[in-house]
Amino acid sequence: MIEIPFGAAEAWAIAPFTVIALFAMGILLYETFRTDDHGPELTFWFSILGLAGAAIASLLAWDNGSVAFGGTFATDGVAVFTNLICILAAGLSLMMGVHYMELIRVRAREFQPLVLFAVSGMFIMGGARDLIVLFLGIEVMSIPAYVLAGIHRQDHASGEAALKYFLLGAFATSFLLYGIALVYGATGTTTYAGISMALSTAPHLALLGGIALLIVALGFKVGVVPFHFWAPDVYQGAPTAVTALMAVGIKAAAVVGTARLFLSGFAGMHVEWSIVLWWISVATMTLGNVVAIVQSNVKRMLAYSSVAHAGYLIAAIASGTPRGGGAILFYLLAYAFMNLGAFAVVIAVGAKDEPNEKMSDFAGLATRRPLLSGAMALFLLSLMGIPPLVGFVGKLYIIEALIAAGQVGLGVIVILNSVVSGYYYLRVIIEMFMKDATREIPALDPRPYLMVCVAIALAGTIFFGIFPDLALEAARDSFAALR
């Protein structure tokens, strides 16, 4: 057993999630003892304060050289970048939630604290350099997410989403742990540093079995084919503000956790695992895109589209290079802005007791809500990968990393898939701009928080599309410094 010290490095390592957990508990206590009926605004701003504090703590803790807790946790660039993406996802999801919870008539005061608790789990995943820390991160992130998926207690779809997410998540957890047990049995350690040193001498079969089980479990969390079947149901059934958090924040944390494990712990076995990830990546993007084409519900279509995007991210992991890692981080940033924006628009189109999530509900939207439709069109074009939007730059760097790693075939498949994805993204745009409304839809109340949310997502989608350099450099440097 290693001696676990507690010094400055440890204090900084836990600072971000300590801040966020304290804020979450504070809000929870406040909501418990305040009995009069009040709006969500005050606690919303308090949550934003907590997220901002966590962002500052992450940036202050940024130190590529040091590892904390006996090498099991890092506060390097990868962790800080992941933290910031997750903070962005949580902040915008909370912002959508302010109006959305009112829209679906849910008075759930635990919504904001649960989001913050889930974010603290994402922080743990981003910095984990030990399989057990990774496991704890996944659970701290997932358990609040199970509750969040079912937070719309009157809605049967929400309850079903929570049940499916929980059962499959718990099932995946047992595979994760069995995988960890096999790797521990083969190498005698659970730290990434120890594993990478023991790879050459460890019994090969046990190690391969462990890696296979870890791929299954992490594949469940990321939502890749053939372990994706829960994703569309859960994303469609969960309240949209929660879906946005799951599709962006949880996916980002899970992808980074996977990338760090494979690019640092199992780097020495790249030949073995990259072929598996290659096939998973191709199957995921192809199936996600093809099935998205036949969807008639926009929220479900976005769910399949997020499965397809998971495929692009896994492709970058399969490249096995730090360059691929940098491309993953930048793509996650891009994906966060454009996907959160698209979900915010889906909420904005809905009215009380009318979710308006069907494709036909978007018909003729441009004449009634020109700005909103324009924003949605830009988000969808960015998801498709059209320059000069951020989605294009993100895909470009994934393809570039694949070619640099000699995986030209995979790069070509990513491009072909982007073309296929154009079909269903463009379909929504055609509905909005070229069709007439099929039915009368009442005018909506102004919802300032939602509009600010769309505006922030739009600003990010355009800004990082035109000026990607700074974020890209940061993403690349952080994975180049990965140890």
Partner: protein, 98 residues
Amino acid sequence: MTEHYLVLAAILFAIGGLGVLIRRNVIVILMSVELMLNAVNVTFVALARQHGSMDGQVIVFFVLTVAAAEVAVGLAIILMNFAQRKTINADEIRLLRG
């Protein structure tokens, strides 16, 4: 000797996994998942003994704690579904399809 424990754990894990896949009562599915987690615990303890380190035994405490938290949330979710539709049969809980 360690092999015996590992084989026992593998059998338990397989029984649990089979239970998740073929049983339709949600409570029984949850119990099967717990069986899988306990199979993992047996594996960890056996391997810790083999390696002569305490790591594996400490991990078991983490697994137990997390499993307890998970069950607390999971039973609440099952209860919510039962209140909504008066059934906990996995085949009857299907609204979302396609």
